[in-house]
Amino acid sequence: MGQASTTSIGLGLGNLPVALVPGHVGTQSRQELVDNILGTTLDHVVQNLTIPPTAATLAEDPAPRDVVFSGTIDEINRLFTENQWSDSLPVVPPTMERVEAFLEFTDRDPNEVLAILLPDSRAATVWSVAVNGVMAGCRPEYMPVLVALIEAMGDPDYGVEHSGNTPGGETLITINGPIAKQLRFNDEQGVLRDGFQPNTTVGRFWRLVLRNLAGFLLHQNDKCTFGNTWRVVLAENEAVLDKLGWTTMAEDLGVSKGGNAISIARYTGSGLIASASGNTGDKILPYLADGVLKQNTWHLVFTIGTSPGTLRPLIVLSPIVAETLAKDGWDKERLRQYFFDHCRMPAYEFERYLGEWTEHPIRNLQDQVNLQRAPEVFAEGTDPNRLVPIVFKADDFMIGVSGDPLRNHAITFAHNGILGYPVAREIGLPENWEAKLRATR
């Protein structure tokens, strides 16, 4: 009820009447459901349809450059925490001077609206991006990255409005292009661990924007059942990719070779695949495919179900694993085909994830193929033990290269389908970028 009520405010329907369904229907017997719907929900529905709701009003918002508080760092952090403007870690005070320093690193108008972010329907302006960048502890020269990120966040294909769903996935940001080295992103050992300023603070910035501009707040719009903190930004190891002649993740999402870009996608979890031993693909890949397959369970509702064909599993190889595979003649296209052919499960098991276990109204893969909601590969025969893929096509698998160059590990991420579909944005640089960057060093 809380999420429905708070979301409706951002949609301009602040007095939208909501009917209660007690408990969670997924845990109720038929009789419990009957008792709850007829004993509670029915009365709410009748009231909502027949009694006018109280008129709602929106609170007056400050103007962007209004000073909302003057105080010490301690006082500011207390205020920001109490108002839910911070993640409860200390923030850098967003003073006019600090915000202006960020604006030096973009040629965009500070008032330009980069996106209207649901569910709050707030305007993510260049100015407000800079404010949240300051708070996150970013350096001013990260500003081009921050702007590109919020443009990506506003891409309808990404679907930011779903960021408060109960599985509580978290976005992984990937950065590609020369700017990653220029800004000193870590692309090697410990790439996803906090400790390198750009990787860490840009990740924190993302979640502060979800909080302050999109409006996702715990116990209100953010209904993650467990959740986790933000993901540290992944920088790909482009020196290795260049050496192998492999494309970057940004290129795979349509960005030109050598372009500066960020890409985003939302994942509910990840699994490390340790010690992928062997000197050939035949030895290494069955183990990787096994790890990828086991990471994808209920997520199959994004392959067939809620949003057909939108599951995009990600596998990040450490450089030495990628180099070993390349030496054996594997490229990314062939790897994707391998994962498509080998990350498979019995049809009955796939169907069990859709129907019996997650209560999606789908019982049979054959029906979905007949209704043209799934490709033929899901209905090659009627044997319930036949093996079916976990995605629609080979290109749905995403592959990256990063991490410790000399450890033979990989990591795979379970994707959240339409609720954070992969999108990329090129990073626009201001005039005199390199001179401005030099001045910061």
Partner: protein, 105 residues
């Protein structure tokens, strides 16, 4: 002056909402003779919930009519934007007086 006592003037980290408050549609004096449509996101037993609501409402309002969720498709998924965009026209053509929208995630 120590760092901790330095005064900082800070700006608001949020941004203005870009939406006007919409007026709620007039409520119905009775559901008898009215057409109520059902919208569903195809999750969490909505088919059963709507079936129960239909039977409960018909007991109280014998002449209420329903347009099933099957008429509209899922309000959550790949086609959601298109389905939602078409709702006003579709509801007008179906003579809908009220909507019950079921959701869950």
């Amino acid at each position: 002056m120590s760092m901790n006592s330095e005064i900082h003037n800070v700006v608001w980290p949020r941004a203005a909402r870009q939406i006007e408050e919409a007026e709620a549609a007039p409520r119905l004096d009775t559901l008898d003779g009215k057409t109520v449509c059902q919208l569903w996101d195809f999750l969490f037993r909505g088919d059963e919930v709507f079936e129960l609501l239909e039977s409960g409402l018909k007991e109280r309002y014998p002449t209420v009519k329903f347009v099933s969720w099957k008429e509209f498709g899922s309000t959550h998924g790949s086609d959601e934007r298109e389905i939602l965009a078409n709702l006003p026209e579709k509801m007008k053509s179906l003579g809908v007086d009220a909507v019950i929208s079921g959701m869950g995630c």
